[in-house]
Symmetry: C2
Subunit: 306 residues, 2 copies
């Protein structure tokens, strides 16, 4: 017999959402995902998306089920704007900053966790990553150091236990996509990608990015010139561009990284590339399962409220 | 009475072309422009574009008119591919590397000047800029130093008289357009641009780019955060992004620039921004008229052939 769903955790991102039903003992009883991310929804659609995904679960519970949401559902253009906690801050206070969105299903109550902002030094914002960071802290009590979350907008957070001291965001993933789809480099990056060519290009680009992170906007153009002059293949060019961008991201943080072992929260493929580049400067990257940390973060956010 | 057209010079770029009819004494007798740039033409259309623009001129000459073309008409995807001269090289040899495209008008003969490539160090290419550089050398005999040509793909060339020693390309203008139109920053950069806000943002972004050129991909994201957190206006955000990119371009070349006076060949508005940033590092930018140098370059390329 399936255990009863005690509460529901949701990671509601820009392009999709993932939802877990959790039993009183913390085990995952049900798991759903959907492409109804923030980017596709108007404000009045969130409630029915939840209702649909939890159809039968809520009414079977007999009472009211609590839904805890992190991520872009709390953005200004999302469901209800959840204010930011301001770093440096202790992430155990996430639930205290949550907002309660309106729901049409009487069997559900929902809270959207805040994001984290930073105003000291350079302005910065995150939504969703803070819950993963709290989850990492919960899974590794006492961890202190840099955490990297590679992706469209890579986050680097300086953590001390459950405290986030400082963070920065590199537009690495988005820049790669812009270059690949819209720039003059698209002529060099499109076509059949050979895996060996790509790996060779990645290593070369990463080394240059590490050595000369200030030269990014100039080195990118050499991709185009290389395909015109030296017959560089699309695989090599794509690997080189990606390596250059990741190498620049890591190279510009070299002093802060030192020889640390950096937890990498992101897709396994991307985490492996970041680990490769971190190894090139004598540091180490340690891939961490993203689902595991977001679940741990939702649990921890809920636990710290009681 | 108008003087007779002795020959025709053409700067055939990606988006448009400019054409001048020159008398034997070098004065401009006629001037035409068109949006029939390389990007809009198939290989078999170039001849009729020229024929149309020079209708009446060629037949009035009684004999055959020589057309000297520089720029993207000589690219692989252009009219006829003109090979590259390889830097370091003396630009007086441009005409020696020209190709003769097929023409349907018996009153015309045409030559397309080569571009310049570079294989030592980082691969690089230029098409069109080499003719402007030769023109600058002709207008300023004995000039030696860095020349900057700001634009979509900014070129920086180390010149010694008519010799080009080395050059690099920064994707500054293209990156700004990509960010403005396709990235998450488009939400912050769109809308009414206030000139004073823009100027303040530009100065702040330029200073940061000069000081930390390796931080570009991270500092760009602060534009988004700044508009979310601090209510930064589109003018400020646009100025900041532009300043950050130009500051990074110049900051990454700081050692090479030193306190030189750098000729700036490009649009007056862009040249003024580059001059402002060069002044911030104790160097100087000197705007140069682009039409004047390309004309001087076409004349010089022709003169050095006889």
């Amino acid at each position: 017999m399936t255990e009863r769903v005690e509460w529901v955790g949701v990671d509601w991102g820009t392009s999709n959402l993932r939802l877990w039903g959790l039993a009183a003992n913390g085990s995952v009883v049900l798991s759903r995902s959907s492409d109804q991310g923030m980017g596709r929804l108007t404000q009045d659609q969130y409630s029915s998306v939840l209702h649909h995904l939890l159809d039968g679960v809520a009414s079977a519970s007999g009472g009211s089920i609590e839904v805890l949401i992190c991520g872009m559902a709390g953005a200004r253009q999302g469901w209800v704007e959840a204010p930011y906690l301001q770093a440096p801050t202790d992430l155990r206070s996430l639930l205290g900053g949550a907002v309660r969105p309106p729901l049409t299903d009487a069997h559900l109550t929902a809270s959207i966790l805040p994001g984290v902002c930073q105003k000291a030094g350079a302005d910065n914002v995150m939504r969703g990553e803070e819950t993963q960071l709290l989850g990492l802290a919960a899974l590794r009590p006492g961890f202190a150091g840099l955490v990297c979350m590679p992706g469209t907008h890579s986050k680097w957070a300086e953590m001390a236990g459950t405290r986030i001291e400082h963070f920065s965001t590199a537009m690495t993933g988005e820049l790669f996509e812009l270059l690949r789809t819209h720039s003059v480099l698209r002529h060099s990056l499109g076509g059949d990608i050979d895996a060996a060519e790509r790996a060779a290009g990645f290593a070369a680009g990463a080394q240059l990015g590490l050595d000369k992170p200030e030269q990014l906007t100039s080195e990118l153009f050499t991709v185009r010139a290389g395909s015109l002059l030296s017959g560089r293949q699309p695989g090599w060019c794509a690997g080189y561009s990606s390596g250059l961008l990741i190498g620049t991201e890591i190279g510009s943080r070299r002093a802060a990284i030192g020889t640390q072992t950096v937890p990498l929260i992101g897709s396994p493929a991307l985490a492996a590339l970041y680990a490769q580049v971190l190894a090139m400067i004598g540091a180490k990257g340690e891939p961490v399962d993203g689902t595991e940390v977001v679940l741990a973060g939702l649990k921890a956010a809920r636990a710290f409220s009681v």
